[in-house]
């Protein structure tokens, strides 16, 4: 069955890249522009994996991850965080918020797909 990935990123460029990379890897892609929209999207759809950015307006990645983890229906969805490699501190914060794993920016499709495969059942 096609896996559904929810991507949460405020940058259109990044969303478009994610979409191209993920659809060409055979995933179904749902997108949201920030944490608030991400949580709204989750009201109607249950993705297999979530990929989220950290720096976003309205609700950042940390808030979003916490939001997902405290939601009974979605707390078991793996969440990957898009991060810059140097951000060990952010990685740790994201992990504490409940992130499952991370993907290093700049964006590398192969790595993204492998990370998704790794965390999805």
């Amino acid at each position: 069955m096609t896996k559904k990935i929810l991507t949460v990123d405020d940058s259109k460029t990044m969303r478009q890249m994610l979409e191209v990379a993920l659809t060409s890897a055979g995933f179904e892609v749902v997108q949201a522009g920030d944490g608030v929209e991400g949580l709204e999207t989750l009201e109607n759809t249950t993705p297999d994996v979530i990929v989220t950015d950290i720096n976003m307006p309205r609700m950042d990645g940390f808030g979003f991850i916490e939001g997902v983890r405290t939601n009974e229906r979605h707390r078991a969805i793996p969440i990957l965080v898009l991060t810059t490699e140097s951000d060990a501190e952010k990685k740790e914060r994201a992990r504490r918020a409940g992130a499952t794993g991370w993907i290093v920016k700049p964006f590398d499709p192969a790595k993204l797909v492998s990370a998704i495969k790794r965390v999805s059942a």
Partner: protein, 725 residues
């Protein structure tokens, strides 16, 4: 990959938006608004640009943005104060960033010196902060930066890993892996089984499950983690590859990876008693002999029952305040143009239908009439909505002006503060686009010539810093844009002197203050002696005026000696609809752009004079204005008729030339939908476009400038008549 080009386009479009966000944020900060949200937004903008730039490998851009981002990060974490000096550096950097993005986009060489100096400026700001607070994290220090900049994607090819178990030969090694998850591992949606599966994928495995920690069912916490595994792996893979599997869970489990140097063929018996593991969780259950507790517990990896007790299941407070989102989509302008066009057709069609129905003599209250009225209402709503699609706030263009102000102020060594009003005022996109040049010119002028040098200002008792106010507002269906400076005002004596010297006005001309100010709009007027490289008030003001008039707008000045000038532009909200004066000429209906019409005159025998070769002029307030018979010019008739039976419309061309157009009668004013004549039929001299009237007839829209030049070609208007103005 053709996707790449498309994404690049998106990236650059987004860069524009981010730059706008960045600049408006920085300006707000400059104006004393240190709201963390604004600082965050500024940081995000730069951060976003960096992300995209890195993905496309724009190294120079990444390098600069990185330094910028680092500085903003310090600002964000309040290690750096947004002092005026700091915001100045940041604003300058945003200008440089904008240039840099432009160069990258257009593949033109970058001004590396400018970039380097901006970078140095940023680093200096960071450095100062470091000196001031050495105890705080020195993240901004250059050494770490250079490392950080160097980040490269590390791609793991899973295929290689999966392919590894094909040949297990002498290179095969044996690892003993111990793995005990903590409850947090499951809480973060990781699964032990995935880790085990990945290990299995590396080679041949034998797995045993340790259940000693498994409590009695009554004591079992569904959210707990009770299993541990020992995995014996025979693989060609390196220890680092196994380590990598634990990348995401390293902190949420205890694990060890030990390499065992055991010859390949000896091992199977030597391995500890194992239980083969399948992907099916149920089968992870150990054989009864391994049990220390009696009843088999539910598998811990099972999701907890819905509605479970943990406090964590309460709705997230973070998701509670749902602000309404402004969602947007990007649409090709072509598509909208087509829609506007179609709506124009609809409006016309509706008017035609209305007229036909009323001609058919149907009674007022008939259902057809009622339906028609509803249609009319609907059509009007659609028209408004479609026009609103193209409407955009003037904010981006106003923002661009802040950069112009900074640049010109820097060159002229003046202190100028830009104050912006009504930047949310919306106007049609085409109007905005064509407004940039004239507005830029006026803003440059205002800083260069309007506002005095700091010394002069202090001498005349004004604050050292000049203020330039840019405002936009809607007024009776038009947009008014004003550029106001608190400078010295227009020096009328000087303007007059120049105009006389250039032969624009006779030496003895009696002019009001307004008329004198208006002289700067005349082509050929220039206060050249004071004009700098940036601008000259007067230089090109005729160009500004023409650009505004081409937009169907008007421009006016009000100036007070010593306290500044205001340039006011009144523009239509859209170019798709025109305010027209509908007139009759030789049985035809024509439309004149209302913006060109100054006043209407009733020609009387006494004030019409013939000059030389058949040129007629009409006297109007101490000047003589050439009189043009529109019917003759457009060849509707070949015989002049008595002007006293006609109406004269005093019009002004884009170049400021005045003349009186003779028409048979005025029908009234009306908004008309502009239809291109050129693309539908062909170019017609003297005609700008066409429109369709309610009765379905086509009416031509007169091009006033073209009519004037046509008349010149025909009549060879005398110089005397021209200068009569």
């Amino acid at each position: 990959m053709d996707h790449l080009e498309a994404i690049k386009q998106t990236f650059f479009q987004e860069c524009e938006e981010q730059l706008a966000e960045l600049e408006s944020g920085l300006l707000a900060i400059e104006n004393g608004n240190h709201d963390p949200e604004i600082i965050n937004a500024v940081f995000r903008a730069v951060h976003s640009i960096k992300g995209g730039a890195a993905a496309f490998g724009y190294d120079e851009l990444v390098e600069f943005v990185h330094v910028f981002e680092t500085t903003l990060d310090l600002l964000r974490s309040e290690q750096l104060k947004p002092t005026p000096a700091v915001t100045k550096v940041l604003l300058h950097s945003s200008d440089v960033l904008s240039d840099l993005i432009h160069s990258v986009r257009n593949e033109t060489p970058t001004d590396s010196q400018k970039v380097a100096s901006a970078k140095a400026g940023l680093e200096a700001v960071c450095g100062e902060q470091q000196g001031a607070a050495p105890a705080s994290r020195g993240a901004a220090a250059p050494p770490e930066e250079s490392e950080e900049i160097d980040f490269k994607p590390i791609s793991i090819s899973l295929d290689d890993i999966f392919g590894a178990d094909e040949e297990v030969e002498d290179r095969a090694r044996r690892f003993s892996i111990f793995f005990r998850p903590k409850p947090t591992l499951y809480a973060r949606a990781n699964e032990a089984i995935r880790i085990i599966r990945e290990i299995k994928a590396l080679g041949e495995t034998e797995i045993s499950c340790d259940l000693t920690d498994l409590p009695l069912l009554t004591e079992l916490d569904a959210e707990g983690a009770y299993f541990a595994w020992t995995i014996s792996l025979q693989t060609e893979a390196e220890a680092s590859e196994i380590e990598q599997i634990f990348e995401f869970v390293a902190a949420d489990c205890d694990y060890t990876i030990e390499e065992q140097r055991v010859p390949f063929d000896e091992e199977p018996e030597a391995a500890p008693p194992t239980q083969p593991l399948s992907d099916d969780i149920a089968q992870v259950m150990p054989p009864a002999s391994d049990f220390t507790a009696a009843p088999p517990p539910p598998p811990p990896t099972e999701p907890p029952p819905p509605g479970g007790k943990p406090p964590a299941s309460e709705p997230s407070p973070a998701s509670a305040p749902h602000q309404p989102t402004q969602e947007t989509i990007r649409v090709d302008l072509d598509k909208i143009d087509r829609l506007v066009n179609l709506v124009g057709e609809l409006v016309i069609n509706q008017a035609v239908l209305s007229q036909r129905v009323s001609e058919a003599g149907l009674p007022r209250g008939s259902s057809v009439m009622i339906g028609l009225e509803e249609l009319e209402q609907l059509t009007r709503d659609i028209q408004d909505s479609v026009m609103a699609i193209r409407a955009q706030p003037v904010k981006p263009i106003f923002q661009r002006m802040s950069r112009i102000v900074r640049e010109v102020a820097a060159i002229t060594k003046k202190a100028v503060r830009l104050v912006v009003d009504g930047e949310g005022t919306e106007v049609d996109k085409t109007v905005i686009e064509r407004l940039t040049d004239p507005l830029t010119h006026m803003v440059r002028n205002a800083v260069d010539h309007g506002i005095e040098s700091p010394e002069e200002r202090i001498a005349s008792g004004k604050p050292e810093e000049g203020t330039l106010r840019l405002s936009a507002m809607h007024r009776s269906g038009r947009i008014i844009i004003e550029v106001t400076d608190d400078g010295a005002g227009i020096n009328r004596a000087r303007v007059r002197e120049i105009a006389i010297r250039k032969g624009l006005i006779p030496e003895n001309a009696v002019l009001s203050d307004e008329e004198t100010d208006g002289l700067i709009f005349l082509p050929g007027f220039s206060t050249n002696t004071t004009a700098s490289s940036i601008s000259g008030r007067g230089v090109g003001m005729d160009v500004v005026k023409r650009a505004i008039q081409a937009l169907g707008g008007r421009i006016s000045i009000s100036s007070r000696q010593g306290s500044g000038s205001t340039f006011s532009m009144s523009l239509p909200l859209t170019l798709a609809v025109l305010d027209g004066m509908v007139v009759n000429v030789a049985g035809q209906i024509l439309v004149l752009p209302l913006t060109a019409v100054i006043e209407t005159l009733q020609p009387r025998t006494g004030n019409i004079h013939s000059l030389g070769s058949g040129v007629r002029v009409i006297g109007n307030r101490s000047s003589f204005i050439p009189l043009i018979d529109v019917g003759m010019i457009l060849s509707y008739r070949f015989q002049e008729i008595d002007p006293t039976t006609q109406v004269a419309l005093l019009v002004e061309s884009e170049s400021g030339e005045k003349c009186a157009l003779l028409v048979d009668a005025i029908q009234g004013q009306r908004q008309v939908v502009i239809k291109s004549l050129e693309s539908n039929y062909g170019k017609v001299p003297g005609i700008a476009a066409a429109t369709i009237l309610g009765d379905g007839r086509v009416a031509l829209i007169v091009d006033v400038d073209a009519v004037l030049s046509l008349s010149r070609g025909d009549y060879h208007m005398s110089e005397a008549a021209m200068e009569a103005f």
